[in-house]
């Protein structure tokens, strides 16, 4: 979410100070342009609350300071007090839409973000966040249309459906993604990556046969797709088909030896095959290529623990613990 905030701000125009701006207002604007929002808020302390320009700058400053809820509180009442088409109006609309989005009020954000298309309709950052908001409010067609524009592909083509599906998976809207992928493949059965994503969705739901078939179809289209080979190995690992898993994962590594996922899966496969030495080697390779991968450290810790190398295990498991992110609901 923070990354989105930073990206979007890059297209947020700052309204120039009006000629009749008070010194405090001008100072706050200057501080904002220097990315010093908290000082901008302080600079406006004691200024006239009934002046919409003051409230606008306060709202923008709170938004920049990461307090989206307060930005919404400040901007909501003043946005329509600026003349239609004015810089202040545009700024208020845009920041209000973004603040609502960041405050988690995504459905409320959509109409404001849509209004920004009047003057920033080709801005890819706006289109990306609007597309995201459409997905999160389950408006698949609108999402596909704006995302296609953001990525400069035809909104009606198979690629647009694929793109929308990828974004939907990122946003954990798996059922919507499934529909988009079906449409993409109906339009172009040989569309790269579409079968891979279908396989990924099937794997997520534990439908292993379907995952295998879809991933194999992707590999037929592009046998040099190392990520697809790795996914096929993943399916086999979950099915305890260790030899099949090793064969698929080995192919992934032959194509691209610097991707950590197949080494992690190989580590697990060799653990289960009763070959702890090979498992350890695979997991150490994964750590080498991806030092912050908690899964690699965790499995390596388990291999060492089960081998009685407690001290080494403790170090790896401690790393895995530290690398736990914001998982969970």
């Amino acid at each position: 979410m923070t990354a989105t905030l930073v990206l979007v701000l890059a297209f947020a125009p700052a309204a120039p100070p009006a000629d009749d701006a008070t010194p405090a207002l001008a100072s706050a604007r200057a501080l904002l342009s220097q990315d010093r929002p908290r000082e901008a808020i302080a600079a406006l302390r004691g200024e006239d609350d009934s002046d919409p320009r003051v409230q606008l700058v306060r709202g923008v400053a709170h938004y920049h300071a990461g307090d989206a809820a307060e930005a919404v509180t400040l901007l909501g009442p003043v946005v329509d007090r600026f003349p239609e088409g004015s810089e202040e109006r545009r700024e208020a609309v845009q920041v209000l839409g973004l603040a609502l989005y960041l405050a988690g009020r995504i459905a409320d954000a959509v109409p404001w973000l849509e209004r920004t298309r009047e003057w920033a309709g080709s801005n890819p950052e706006l289109l990306q966040i609007l597309g995201t908001a459409y997905i999160q409010t389950r408006q698949a067609d609108k999402a596909r249309e704006v995302l296609a524009r953001a990525f400069e592909v035809s909104p009606d083509g198979a690629s647009a459906h694929l793109l929308a599906a990828q974004m939907m998976i990122r946003l954990q809207q798996e059922a919507m993604a499934q529909d988009e992928l079906a449409k993409a493949i109906a339009m172009d059965p040989r569309l790269p990556h579409a079968h891979f994503l279908l396989g990924q969705l099937a794997l997520f739901r534990g439908r292993f046969d379907e995952a295998t078939a879809a991933t194999r179809r992707e590999i037929e289209l592009n046998p040099a797709d190392n990520v697809a080979w790795s996914q096929l190995g993943d399916v086999y690992v979950r099915q305890q088909r260790w030899d099949d898993a090793v064969a698929a994962l080995q192919r992934s590594i032959w194509v691209s030896p610097f991707y950590s996922a197949p080494y992690i899966l190989l580590g697990r496969a060799y653990m289960k095959k009763g070959e702890p030495g090979t498992a350890e080697a695979m997991l150490r390779r994964a750590v080498e290529y991806d030092p912050n991968n908690k899964q690699a450290h965790y499995l390596l810790g388990q291999v060492l623990q089960q081998a009685g190398r407690t001290e080494e295990a403790r170090s790896e498991l401690a790393l895995a613990e530290r690398l736990q992110g914001a998982a969970g609901r």
Partner: protein
């Protein structure tokens, strides 16, 4: 059909539960379990306090040999405020105890036994902490937990007098009695979920931890402050002493602790404590045998998923799931995740083999109360878990995540693998509810395990097991003499038909719930157990031979001591074949 096709068809039939003879039928209404467990809003839940629900228990509170049903309840907030709503006289929701009438029906005895209480109850754990032969109750809650002493069929609130009242408002979650110092008196572990101040908790959608798949929902647990857990030492004379700090239990921080249980996880003969934790690593408090505990969850392999990811732990079961004589762990989680099956490798090490065991085939539901119950008496514990989403508002937008879900039933195939037989397990399994706590007992004493389920804002389900196969069974009621009288922490290994299986006596498991203390063993085609080995909490071992099945047997500590050299070392029931 060719011979080959015939073979294939036979194999398919065998693999699709065609001989699964378990049929669960909800008979709660006709049995008289009719009061709903109120728990927050119906169609919308503004705060996390409304979502977690509560547990149930099977407890023979009057020592008549028939288990009685305890069903916990919450309450509700006012529509337009953050205050608990007030209720007209006589209509306030309450925890309820239903006495077993010995004829398949129950009578509500809540008031008669002194258990009426309105509030946000969470969990129940059971044990005879004063060793007087009557089972006592500890009920956790948001606000204040309650210790009920059983005074011969009547419960007395002794919370303050016993020294287990908490200071201020805390959100008690799991709890378990255990005799951690093996002095013959049950101590008490109490988990706390998180620090919740209803006055300041954000409204749905007001923050990044208040959205689920883009839909504004109640906030948490992420984003809300965690709390620490409590350990009380039983001093005798009805008094407990808070040893949370001295024991190291309070030093484990940063967890959203939920269901707690105690069993000997590392086979050293001393009870450890396992806590399922929401959205954070699960905790395994290893008993250091000196009054202190150390969290070894990560090192033991029971904190995370197979690949080392945090999971939203809710409920748990402890049993010998793979028939190797060691106690394994099963843990339920949030939607989009699968349960964990931590296989006990021995030596205090576990490994999550859920996916490989066939338990990863369904992940749309939030999973709650569970149990490793041998539903078809074949000598292999099956798995059942209840489901139900915590966000009622979700299903309108994301129909793949229904608010009410089925009971998921996995049949133990005996080779380390399980098969989903939910749709074959009768209407009691497939009828959807938003369920939480689950407990197992043979309430009608007909030789198969039945299921009691807490449903949110509905009456409970009483899933009578109409198993119609011919497998034998044996139920064991343990009575400690040197060990604590209710034998919490004992482990029993039964060998029947050449197959060995082990079960522990637990004070809490499932989700916030308590199973009947009598241990139920399926005997398969055997009619007697060749050998019964009881490992008592204080380390003694009794061994019985040729124990006839088809009945409930009482085993008293020390009545059949193991001959020297026969029963190996303490923990042997847990440590090998």
């Amino acid at each position: 059909m060719s011979a080959w096709n015939g073979l294939l068809a036979a194999a398919l039939l065998a693999a699709t539960g065609s001989d699964w003879r378990v049929r669960l039928v909800d008979v709660a209404e006709q049995a008289g379990l009719t009061h709903p467990s109120i728990y927050g809003g119906l169609d919308r839940k503004r705060f996390i306090i409304e979502t977690n629900g509560a547990g149930v228990a099977w407890i023979d509170y009057d020592n008549d040999g028939w288990v009685d049903a305890l069903v916990l309840s919450g309450t509700r907030l006012e529509e337009s405020s953050r205050r608990e709503r007030s209720w007209p006289a006589g209509e306030a929701p309450t925890n309820r105890l239903y006495r077993n009438n010995h004829d398949g029906t129950f009578t509500d005895v809540t008031d008669k036994v002194g258990l009426r209480r309105t509030g946000w109850s969470s969990s129940v754990c059971v044990g005879d902490y004063d060793n007087d032969g009557w089972l006592d109750l500890f009920i956790t809650a948001y606000g204040q937990n309650v210790l009920y002493r059983n005074r011969g069929g009547y419960f007395e609130d002794v919370t303050a007098a016993a020294g287990v009242a908490t200071k201020g408002t805390r959100w008690g979650s799991g709890c378990t009695f255990l005799d951690y110092d093996r002095d013959g008196r049950l101590d008490l572990f109490v988990a706390n979920y998180l620090v919740l101040d209803l006055a300041t908790t954000p409204e749905p959608g007001e923050g990044t931890h208040c959205l689920w798949k883009g839909v504004p929902v109640n906030c948490g647990p992420k984003g809300l402050p965690t709390d620490t857990n409590l350990l009380y030492h039983n001093e005798g004379g009805g008094r407990f002493r808070d040893v949370s700090e001295a024991s190291g239990v309070a030093s484990v921080k940063g967890r959203y602790s939920m269901t707690a249980t105690s069993f000997d996880a590392d086979g050293d003969g001393w009870p450890d404590i396992y806590v399922a934790c929401d959205s954070t690593a699960a905790t395994l408090f290893r008993n250091n045998r000196d009054g202190t505990f150390t969290d070894v969850g990560v090192a033991s392999g029971v904190a995370y998923s197979e690949f080392g990811n945090e999971q939203a732990g809710m409920g748990l079961a402890v049993a010998d799931l793979d028939g190797d004589g060691r106690l394994d762990l099963f843990k339920t989680h949030f939607a989009d995740d699968i349960p964990a099956f931590y296989r006990n490798l021995g030596g205090g090490l576990f490994e999550d083999v859920a996916m490989a065991s066939g338990l990863g085939v369904e992940n749309r539901y939030v999973q709650w109360g569970t149990g490793a119950a041998d539903l078809d008496n074949d000598g292999r514990p099956d798995l059942l878990y209840a489901t139900g989403n915590v966000y009622p508002e979700i299903e309108a937008m994301l129909p793949e995540y229904p608010h009410r879900g089925p009971k998921i039933v996995f049949r133990n195939l005996g080779d380390g693998r399980f098969e989903d037989v939910s749709t074959l397990s009768g209407p009691g399994a497939t009828t959807p509810h938003s369920s939480r706590g689950v407990a197992f007992a043979d309430y009608d004493n007909d030789g198969d395990l039945d299921v009691l389920v807490m449903n949110m804002n509905e009456p409970p389900s009483l899933l009578r097991n109409d198993y119609d196969g011919g497998n034998g069974w044996l139920e064991l009621r343990l009575e400690g003499r040197v060990s604590n009288r209710s034998a919490i922490g004992a482990t029993v290994a039964v060998t029947a038909g050449g197959r060995r299986q082990a079960r522990p006596v637990l004070s809490q498991s499932s989700y916030y719930s308590h199973d009947d203390l009598r241990l139920h063993f399926g005997l398969g085609s055997a009619r007697a157990a060749e050998r019964v080995e009881v490992h008592w909490p204080n380390g003694a071992v009794d061994v019985l031979h040729d124990v006839p099945g088809g009945a409930v047997r009482t085993v008293r500590e020390g009545e059949s001591p193991a001959p020297a050299g026969e029963a190996t070392t303490p923990g042997s029931a847990r440590a090998g074949r």
